[in-house]
């Protein structure tokens, strides 16, 4: 059963923080994972999600279709992540980050090591490709939806996706034994 987005968003647009928090509760874990893969660190991801959520609450009146809440807040998160990435590039942090992305776990479990390689490889992708890839694999959006969210042509989305698959393909075991 769902608390209806229509109702929750309507309340939220009137300043009801409870309602907004309810709607947020349905998406925030996904958002966090997206941010984590985009930015590479838990702390950055938490900051990004928090910033995005607060911005979403502030401009929730711009959400015209309550049913599109998830995609809408995702789009805000993508912009937030982009900003952070840009800031990092400017301060040259990103290069260091790529070389020493923290492991997810201390025990060197084979599966997680494999997954970690994938995670690092994702971080190595150019931001434009990475952000689109994660909207597809984590957000669950198709290229048309991603195009709408990022205001880029669906064809560009598809090209970015196919390029990123190409780069990541080698890192994924053929028999998917993870």
């Amino acid at each position: 059963m769902e608390l209806h987005y229509d109702t929750l968003i309507g309340h939220a647009q009137n300043g009801d923080t409870d309602a907004f928090a309810q709607a947020y509760s349905m998406v925030y874990e996904d958002l966090y994972r997206y941010a984590f893969y985009s930015l590479g660190s838990k702390a950055d991801a938490e900051d990004a999600v928090q910033d995005a959520a607060i911005e979403a609450f502030k401009c929730i009146k711009n959400l015209k279709n309550p049913q599109a809440f998830r995609a809408w807040i995702y789009a805000i998160l993508v912009r937030t992540c982009k900003k952070r990435i840009k800031e990092r590039i400017k301060s040259r942090e990103l290069q260091n980050q790529q070389q020493s992305a923290p492991f997810l776990t201390d025990d060197f479990d084979d599966r997680l090591l494999e997954a970690d390689r994938l995670r690092n490889a994702i971080l190595l992708l150019p931001a434009a490709e990475r952000l689109v890839l994660l909207l597809a694999v984590k957000g669950g959006y198709n290229s048309t939806e991603i195009g709408k969210m990022l205001k880029i042509p669906a064809g560009s989305v598809r090209s970015r996706l196919s390029r990123s698959y190409g780069k990541l393909k080698d890192l994924i075991k053929e028999d998917n034994q993870l």
Partner: protein, 772 residues
């Protein structure tokens, strides 16, 4: 359903495995966020240009719901007369809505802790009333027998017909299907209605059909009824012409909204690499050398069918709306004459404002319900008739966007939302009778349950969305009449959470545990602190609470409910799936009889026979490390001890069949999990039919299963039917929208988009195939 490439699947699955490791700390919890939002001011709407009313995911509609924050003064047991006020004239309606608008434009900071806790609602019981027994609607009771035996729509209440995507009258099959077409080099979907002549069941023929072309305006059929010699197709009328549609010209980028966006291109330069397409216009994206040919669009399982693209060139943007795509304005129906099945003649079209259409057909009377939001920010609210009053159109009377008369509009005493319930009644077989439409301001129609003589509509309760209101209408006469409103704790899952029996109304809810917080200035507010519990409430004919059973399965929520006469069966889930059997013989004292714990959950429950429930849901599949579609049989002959007789995973049944093109199934699901109508049940012929979508390491497949069941030996797979798939120019696979089964006498039909396959119902050998 789109088929993902193996690359996509591997990436997705790998990341999926890490999900449990990647969870946010308490810093991001909803409770913490809520406190961080204190004092944050909301921006006013930044919108320019014309707004239009619309619906559906990714629509460009500009409907905003303005809500009033009023101290809640709620009468717990409203008297019939002073409940819903009939508007004497339009001014009464305008005033109610203008009040909402004014309050919304007030200071928002005051709203954060300014509310008082909702009034004097309690769960105390009203004194039991002596209700005369009203006719029982026995679910599953056999209809008067025809000489034909054929598949009928699974109904919640016998005698109350529900619309479906396929209909079978024992002679013909009526089917709504989807096909792909190309418009301006882009593949899009379009829908069609087809009649399949099965007067000779073993030799079906294609009869008449209607195609609904994709375009800027049009109609999307969703489901239908038949009645007498009429076929009523329910759907959405959409009109995209007012809103710029983006998507056909790869170079064009709509202007961004400066209040919300940062310009995409200018800042992109810092984050793109030199071979990124956005750096240079005109790059057509041939992809890297290692890209697999025909890179697919990855789409995860649960996404609905992609909305068709419209083919016109991009128009200059008037309003930089956030989302583009279908802009559906109205819901409605097209009624065809099917006395000659080879020639479908359109008799009539009816439309009403709103969306989320719910329909029922009882004795030739069609009940058509939609929810209509008033756009409080419409540019032209000076014309309040245009902006505030819902409209209807009817080709029979020539009415076009006719505002509902004030005499047919009622206003709830507590209007917290600029939402109307719009309810229309059409007599299909008596064309001399005009359509009656009624609108109620303040009811948002979250679910409906329709019995033969009464219609129950749930609504949210502002300031208390942890509660549910229920509005009851009598539909004995042509014009529905408001009877009473009730209120209960918690939220309702779907129509099966409600039932009427012997004049009493039974409802199962999941409620959230809430706590009350008090702010510095003494105001209190209720906040959900997580945690759920489940309840059954019984209300009498006046919607007064006369019996309750609360606190079932704390921390879990209801996944399915089924009422039958004096029993209620509830499935709740967190990790295990208790099936609760509740005795409702004494409506003032419902009793928990028995409980059965099993892993997984059923989402739909069908009566396999009078004492056996067939559950369709998901179970915890340890071999595959995730949940997967599961069938279960429960013996409920002794309510104190429900017993699971048999269970099987769809994936196990399929793999045991040993087909070479399916191996290593990862994930399965079925529309029969969420749609009661999607399951075909013919116990006499030992047929349980359901669609299954399968993900294995190679891709995605749509199949249809014919499963046999035996109370001692369990489930067996009798037949596995493949569906055909189509590809587009990208080499992109679309699954089918339609994947259903039905039967006429000794012929079993499997229907998918454009293909009808038919089999001998006894030995399941294929007789033939018809493309349509």
């Amino acid at each position: 359903m789109k088929k993902e490439t193996p690359d996509f699947n591997r990436i997705k699955d790998t990341l999926l495995r890490l999900d449990d490791q990647i969870t946010p700390s308490g810093e991001l919890s909803p409770g913490t966020l809520r406190f961080k939002l204190n004092g944050k001011k909301q921006n006013k709407l930044s919108g320019k240009g014309k707004f239009s009313i619309g619906m559906v995911a990714c629509a460009t509609a500009a409907i905003l719901v303005g809500l009033v924050v009023v101290p809640s003064i709620q009468a717990l047991l409203p008297k019939k007369t002073d409940f819903v006020v009939e508007a004497k004239n339009y001014d009464a309606v305008y005033n109610a809505i203008d009040k909402l608008k004014k309050q919304q434009e007030g200071s928002l900071l005051d709203n954060l802790f300014g509310r008082t806790k909702s009034g004097n609602f309690t769960n105390d019981l009203a004194p039991a009333q002596q209700e005369g027994a009203v006719s029982n609607d026995k679910t599953g009771a056999p209809e008067s027998s025809d000489s034909n035996s054929y598949g009928k729509t699974n109904l919640q209440v016998e005698g109350v017909d529900e619309a479906d995507i396929i209909k079978n009258d024992g002679k013909n099959l009526y089917v709504i299907s989807r096909e792909t077409v190309k418009i301006n080099e882009q593949v899009t979907f379009q829908y069609k209605l087809t009649v399949l002549d099965c007067s000779d069941p073993k030799n079906p023929k294609k009869a008449g059909s209607v195609t609904y072309p994709a375009g800027k305006t049009g109609f999307i059929p969703n489901e239908m009824f038949f009645s007498g010699s009429s076929l009523i197709v329910i759907g959405n009328f959409y009109d995209n012409t007012a809103v710029p549609y983006y998507g056909t010209d790869e170079k064009a980028v709509p202007p961004s909204d400066p209040d919300v966006d940062e310009p995409e291109r200018a800042d992109d330069s810092a984050v793109t690499t030199k071979d990124d397409p956005d750096r240079s216009e005109g790059y057509t994206g041939t992809g890297s050398a290692t890209a697999s040919p025909g890179s697919a669009d990855p789409v995860p399982a649960d996404k609905p069918a992609e909305e068709p693209a419209t083919g016109a060139a991009v128009e200059p943007a008037i309003a930089p709306d956030y989302y583009y795509g279908y802009n559906t304005s109205k819901v409605g129906c097209i009624i065809y004459d099917i006395s000659d099945i080879n020639q479908l003649t359109e008799l009539r079209r009816f439309e009403q404002d709103g969306w989320n259409a719910s329909t029922r057909l009882i004795n030739g009377r069609l009940y058509f319900i939609s929810t209509y939001y008033v756009n409080l920010y419409a540019k032209d609210t000076e014309d309040r008739l245009e902006a505030y009053i819902p409209k209807v159109s009817d080709t029979k009377t020539g009415a076009e966007d006719l505002p509902i008369p004030a005499g047919n509009i009622s206003i709830m005493p507590e209007v917290s939302s600029s939402t109307y319930l719009v309810l229309s009644v059409l007599d299909i077989n008596d064309s001399s009778r005009d359509i009656y439409t009624k609108a109620i301001l303040g009811v948002d129609a979250t679910n409906i349950y329709c019995a033969k003589e009464n219609l129950y509509i749930t609504k949210s309760v502002y300031n208390d969305y942890y509660k549910t209101g229920i509005v009851k209408f009598s539909i004995k006469d042509f014009i529905p009449e408001f009877v009473a409103e009730g209120k209960v704790d918690g939220q309702v899952l779907n129509q099966f959470s409600m039932d009427e029996y012997n004049g009493n109304f039974r409802i199962a809810t999941t409620s959230y545990t809430t706590e009350t917080f008090t702010s510095k200035d003494g105001n209190t507010t209720s906040v959900s602190v997580g945690g759920t519990t489940n309840n059954v409430y019984i209300l009498n004919g006046n919607m007064e609470l006369i019996g309750k059973l609360e606190g079932l399965a704390p921390t879990e929520r209801i996944y399915s409910a089924r009422f039958k006469e004096n029993m209620a069966y509830l499935v709740t889930y967190r990790q295990t799936d208790p099936l609760f059997a509740i005795d409702l013989t004494d409506p003032t004292a419902p009793k928990l009889m028995g409980e059965l714990k099993i892993p997984g959950f059923s989402e739909q429950m069908h009566f396999y026979d009078d004492t056996t429930l067939l559950g369709v849901g998901q179970g915890e599949d340890e071999t595959r490390g995730r949940t997967n579609v599961k069938l279960s049989l429960f013996d409920v002959s002794d309510p104190k001890q429900p017993v699971e007789l048999a269970t099987a995973f769809g994936a196990d049944l399929i793999e045991a069949a040993g087909l070479t093109d399916i191996s290593g199934i990862n994930y399965t699901y079925s529309t029969a999990q969420y749609s009661f109508k999607a399951l075909l049940l013919n116990t006499e012929k030992n047929i349980i039919g359901l669609d299954v979508t399968i993900y294995d390491s190679n891709g995605t497949y749509n199949y249809y299963l014919i499963v046999g069941a035996d109370k001692t030996n369990g489930f067996t797979l009798r037949k596995l039917l493949k569906t055909e798939q189509t590809t587009d120019t990208y080499g992109y696979y679309y699954g089918v929208m339609l994947n259903r089964g039905t039967y006429i006498n000794d012929t079993l039909y499997h229907i998918t988009d454009g293909v009808l396959s038919y089999y001998d119902i006894n030995n399941l050998s294929q007789i033939g195939k018809l493309e349509f």
